[in-house]
Amino acid sequence: MNKVIEVNHLTKSYGHHTVVHDVNFSLEAGKIYGLLGRNGAGKTTVMKMITAQLFPTSGEIKVFGENLYENRSVLNQVCFIKESQKYPDIFRIADVLDLCSSFFPNWDREYADSLIEDFRLPVKRRIKKLSRGMLSSVGIVVGLASRAPLTIFDEPYLGLDAVARSIFYDRLLEDYGTHPRTIILSTHLIDEVSKMLEHVLVIDDGRLMINEEAEAIRRRAFSVAGPSKKVDAFTVGRETLSREAIGGMAQAIVMGDLNSKTRSQAKELGLEINPVSMQQLIIHLTNHNSQRKAAINQ
């Protein structure tokens, strides 16, 4: 497979404070990746390093097989949409679009115009007069219409309502279908994007904790609920992420594939089995606790 990004032993420290610890991964061409994790976990630092906006303390990064720094031919292939992109104060939306057309080789002006309409953006208005949501929409228009072979959206939707986010997801999937490229979505709205992701990276505390197909993550855990004693009987010898009890009832999140044998065991005990969403699983995994960490490293 064609590697778009290869990262080896990537580390970033500020003095004695290390924010990214020895991270290794590679991304293949034409997939939608999710880069997930809590605020402050190091996601943005990693994205800034793979887009040459920040130097690593140590480690190696190759994008499209080349080194990044001062390498315009690679940087033109990359579009990075940040949470709070800064533009010169005098710029109107139209100026931003003009600049993009000269920077991104695959820029599609017509497509940008149609997106501007979808998001109801006033092209002649100055950037500094835009609302927070409009500013986020400008970033989304740029990210989609650049059609860059590597497009990164870092929490692109500050101030965007559910309708606008849904338009973003629709347009993203449509355009990705006709113009496949590598997309990285970094967000904490995991439930909203999880079904669009093909592969997921989870960063916790500066370390890469999960690097797996989205479908495989969904099969990592399930929950059982029922009378406390029966839940405990079921969880004996099983890796348990959490256990909550109310009255005589308990619910536990258990690691492992929900195969038919497990299912029938739970059924015999009269326990209710439910799936655990990607968001729930990641919340439990990144909710700091050494016991949980042990469960992941199994």
Partner: protein, 121 residues
């Protein structure tokens, strides 16, 4: 819509199966493209493709090169046969278990089924 209960591609395959069984997708008619499924359900196109391929492997759908996916002749009959075999395990067994738990006798259960007939009419 799509939920977390089972792999997404399995759910996509089941939706196509249901559409064929209920007559929404006729035999030899064209199936929506992977990208159309992806947009409609807001899922990854690769996942949608995996669901479609599951049905290709079972001979329910077939590919016309350069045109797209089509429903195979005999697909509906094949699917109904498969679903009938699953019916006992999926519905009847769990119904009997629940009935036993609640102390519902077989006679009462039979009456309920007959009552259910009327709902449909």
């Amino acid at each position: 819509m799509i939920d977390d209960s089972r792999p997404i591609y399995v759910q996509i395959a089941e939706r196509i199966e249901n559409d064929i069984i209920e007559g929404g997708l006729l035999e030899e008619s064209q199936v929506p493209s992977t990208n159309q499924f992806a947009s409609f359900y807001q899922i990854n196109p690769a996942t949608a493709g995996k669901g479609v391929n599951l049905l290709v492997d079972q001979g329910i759908l077939y590919k016309k090169r350069g045109v797209g996916m089509f429903v195979a002749t005999g697909a509906r009959e094949k699917l109904i046969k498969k679903r009938r075999e699953l019916f006992f395990e999926q519905y009847v067994v769990s119904m009997i278990h629940e009935a036993e738990k609640l102390g519902i006798t077989r006679e009462e259960l039979t009456k309920m089924i007959q009552k259910g007939d009327k709902i449909d009419e």
